[in-house]
Symmetry: C2
Subunit: 429 residues, 2 copies
Amino acid sequence: MAGRAGLSVEETRAYEIMDATTLRAWLGADEALRSLLGGSPQQWRVREVGDGNLNLVFLVDSSHGALCVKQALPYVRAAGPKWAMPAQRAFFEHAYYAAVAPHVGARIPRIHRFDPQRYCIVMECLAPHIILRRGLMAGQRYPASAAHIGEYIARASFFTSDWAGRFERRFDGIALFAANHPLVRITVDLVFTDPYCASARNRHTSPQLDATVAALRADAALKAGAARFGQKFITAPQALIHGDLHSGSVMVTDADTRVIDPEFAFYGPIGFDLGAYFGNLLLSWYSQPGHATAANDRRAYRDWILEQARELWLSFRACFGTLLETHAAGDAFPRAMFGRAEDAASLAAERARFLDSLFQDMLGFAACKMIRRIVGFAHVADFETIADAALRARCERGALAMARALLTRPQDFATLDAVLAQVPRMELA
Amino acid sequence: MAGRAGLSVEETRAYEIMDATTLRAWLGADEALRSLLGGSPQQWRVREVGDGNLNLVFLVDSSHGALCVKQALPYVRAAGPKWAMPAQRAFFEHAYYAAVAPHVGARIPRIHRFDPQRYCIVMECLAPHIILRRGLMAGQRYPASAAHIGEYIARASFFTSDWAGRFERRFDGIALFAANHPLVRITVDLVFTDPYCASARNRHTSPQLDATVAALRADAALKAGAARFGQKFITAPQALIHGDLHSGSVMVTDADTRVIDPEFAFYGPIGFDLGAYFGNLLLSWYSQPGHATAANDRRAYRDWILEQARELWLSFRACFGTLLETHAAGDAFPRAMFGRAEDAASLAAERARFLDSLFQDMLGFAACKMIRRIVGFAHVADFETIADAALRARCERGALAMARALLTRPQDFATLDAVLAQVPRMELA
């Protein structure tokens, strides 16, 4: 990865940042894609719509059809070319989609083509889907979304874990995705380290949160908790994980839910994906006063969000639990060892113990994800769009208090009810 | 790994099982090795001395010097060509030596040459060293050995873990050693699965232990404990581990200690290496009545063995603890997060907690290693050389009882004293 902007010399020479003209020419040269869009490339409408931190995203449509093209830039888009970031992440994004596709059905977009030279993935254009985070900010309800994601995480992680298969297959996957370490490094630094240090990349609502943030960085017990989960993040390759499964990586309609943007994928702890989604639901909950209007105080909507957090865990647990009973054929607790009728209770207890460990991991990782979005580099629109800094700080302070409780008093959160009951109390603290 | 005897077609064509004649010619063609041995190759004495389960081991000596040549066979030597086993394990053995050499000094043999085509490693001939297991069977004391191994495991694991360095280096290592999965599979099957099932590869002292073994395979709690450690073995890549560090992989003199045979190396739990050594010391303890004579009842010797088990853990803990204070510069609990004076106590508590987790891992893995040596495929000479089957069974029964206690009642073994006090009690049970 030497050379300009994170690319080797050969890669820099080959790299071509796409625009409407080059994109039309490239897609037009592909028979299948051309016929999918129909008509002549000059008639296609091309819009660059990427609003994430890393990539270009083009929507290409015609009167006949539509496509989405995602191109990985050789740097962090949100930071500019000075922050190099290997475009090879597109390879891992595609590899993740390919690995989970047999197990998760239509929860991911259909992939039409991957071009490793251009670091481009051509996929189904999701319409009329919107980013879930935007929907949550607008106070919209997506009744199936949390259960969809709970089942998605259950299926994607179960089938890439040793519960389902032989460890050799997972070792092959670990070896492949180990090379995605530049993306893992982002998480190690921006989620588990920088928020707890003085770092030029950090920011927070200032001066309103200055004292709160100073106290957080002086809280040795909190930092120990975060560092434990940071260590676990890189030493627990339980399954292939998405690695960035927050509400900005999910697109929804009333009935449909899709997972996108898996370029952070690697073999890690299952609780990290659960925690990303769970934590971002809690962030949404704490941000709601910032989006209240005279016509909608968001009180009932907040209750609905907490129910979504509940639904995420319950649907995950039910789906993973069912798969353990119907599809456990791997090296974890080998069936051959537990074949007697008398073994059933012991095996069931071990499986429950494993699921309980994922629950605790979900809470710890959720807390780390909440903290980094308020005091670290990359913030979330849920809070950023609250113009009144004093109001924003009040919302953020509640979220930080909840995250701190989860990291420093895990013994108080043995059950889902205990967690959800605590959420409103923390706002008053 | 398709084709005959675990080799691909190209590899089979190239594979050449060495004998005295081909070995003389090959070593003689290497200027450096030839001058090390001196004289003419025809004058060199060549002996094949391998007594392990997998490889050929040649000692080559002359009046001027000596060398050891280890060749990996494309099958399990103890089982014959029908049990294929990729000879590429020699590559990983050499890679392990190269990775730990900067950290462990003279605790490994000097490596002169590695030939990836012949799967041969040419190394220092260790003399007058003997295999530690043979020394323990003979009732010999090696005062420095346990402390040497404790420090060895501490240094080899610390410096290949995230405590010492950035996770990217470990991820690169994980990716490399992931391809050593045929050796990891042996451990998964022979240590963590087969002993707890009906398997044609198993054997035990029969009929004396028939009822004990039947009870073990019906003990759901014991099997759950073993399966928990089996799962941990393949999902906890804390550091580069030796993977087979029992008393047959250690060569000793009164003052020197060397670690050999690391072909099972991969990134795994540190406690697995500790447990292999600890467990084999306990096996030696339980086997001693089988080696007692009128002149030496081995009582005092047994006490010495227990002191070695103590010394192993204490020296490991002291060395790893010191390294944490002097060389912790990696991604685990990043220094930047714990830079304030007030953070010191919290960080120290987390490090102690990590070391405590290694102690518990050591005990669990030790128990699994003890059980497999008595009821599984590969037994140990400590017991196998006891001709009187009834006496042998009594010795083995005590070891099994201790292992069972370690796996099913871990809460009773929070301290080293508690473990060591229990060892003699189990013999009476």
